[in-house]
């Protein structure tokens, strides 16, 4: 089983914490975890997980979109991190070019419009900017990510 964590702009601190938390859960269920992001998002991950215990594969976000669009790569699950309209654009793109089941991980201050715009994706959402606890509680509400691939 393969899972992608598609990271947005890391301006909100909870994103990196939530990504590593989800990656840990996915690893325990036997997923091979890949993270895609821009330079800043990737740098935060590499500095937080230097020996790649949680996330083994890291990709540039544009290269990841290109590989998915060209059908050179695909995943069973894709977690799209969303705190702005850009995140919704990436979620819509992933839904169009990948067979992965999509999970919208929504955070920030104004989450309601983002939840509405996420359509039929599985939604993990909490008002969270600096403190990842509310988002972690939502993530913990899912008992098995592997079950979503069956």
């Amino acid at each position: 089983m393969k899972a992608l964590l598609m990271m947005g702009c890391p301006e909100l601190p909870v994103q990196t914490a939530a990504a590593l938390y989800i990656a840990n859960k996915l690893n325990k269920e036997g997923f091979e975890v890949t993270a895609a992001g821009n330079k800043a998002a990737i740098s935060l991950l590499l500095n937080s997980d230097p020996e790649k215990h949680y996330i083994r594969n890291i990709m540039d976000i544009d290269r990841c979109i290109g590989s998915l669009a060209e059908k050179k790569l695909d995943f069973d699950l894709c977690f799209v991190f969303i705190h702005s309209d850009s995140g919704i654009s990436y979620l819509s793109t992933i839904k169009s070019i990948s067979k992965a089941k999509t999970i919208a991980v929504i955070f920030g201050k104004d989450i309601e419009p983002l939840i509405e715009a996420s359509g039929d994706s599985i939604i993990i959402a909490a008002k969270a900017v600096h403190n990842p606890t509310p988002l972690r509680a939502e993530i913990d509400g899912v008992k098995s990510w592997a079950a979503l691939t069956r």
Binding site: E11, G37, A69, D85, I88, S92
Partner: protein, 90 residues
């Protein structure tokens, strides 16, 4: 993978939502083509909510361009080859 930063682009609408950019293109240009998300143009793969409008104005492409940190922009980029490719695809 290409980089739009390396192109001779002009920003027609900065830091907006994807919908605002799509509406701007549809409102201000006549020759419009609709493409799927992930459509390859100028060696980039378009990100957005499909169908994504791309306009043609003489030898220029007008398209939405999403950046993770800065929202969506409408860019005007010279590209005769891409203009011809879009017209043939119709």
């Amino acid at each position: 993978m290409g980089c739009v930063d390396e192109m001779n682009y002009e920003i027609l609408l900065p830091n907006s939502s994807f919908k605002e950019c799509a509406d701007y293109i549809k409102k201000n240009f006549k020759e419009i083509y609709y493409v799927p998300a992930g459509f390859k143009i100028f060696d980039n793969y378009l990100v957005g909510v499909p169908p994504i409008p791309i306009a043609v104005d003489n030898d220029y492409i007008i398209m939405p361009y999403v950046k993770p940190c800065h929202g969506c922009f409408v860019l005007r980029i010279p590209g005769k080859e891409e203009v011809e490719r879009l017209r043939v695809m119709k």
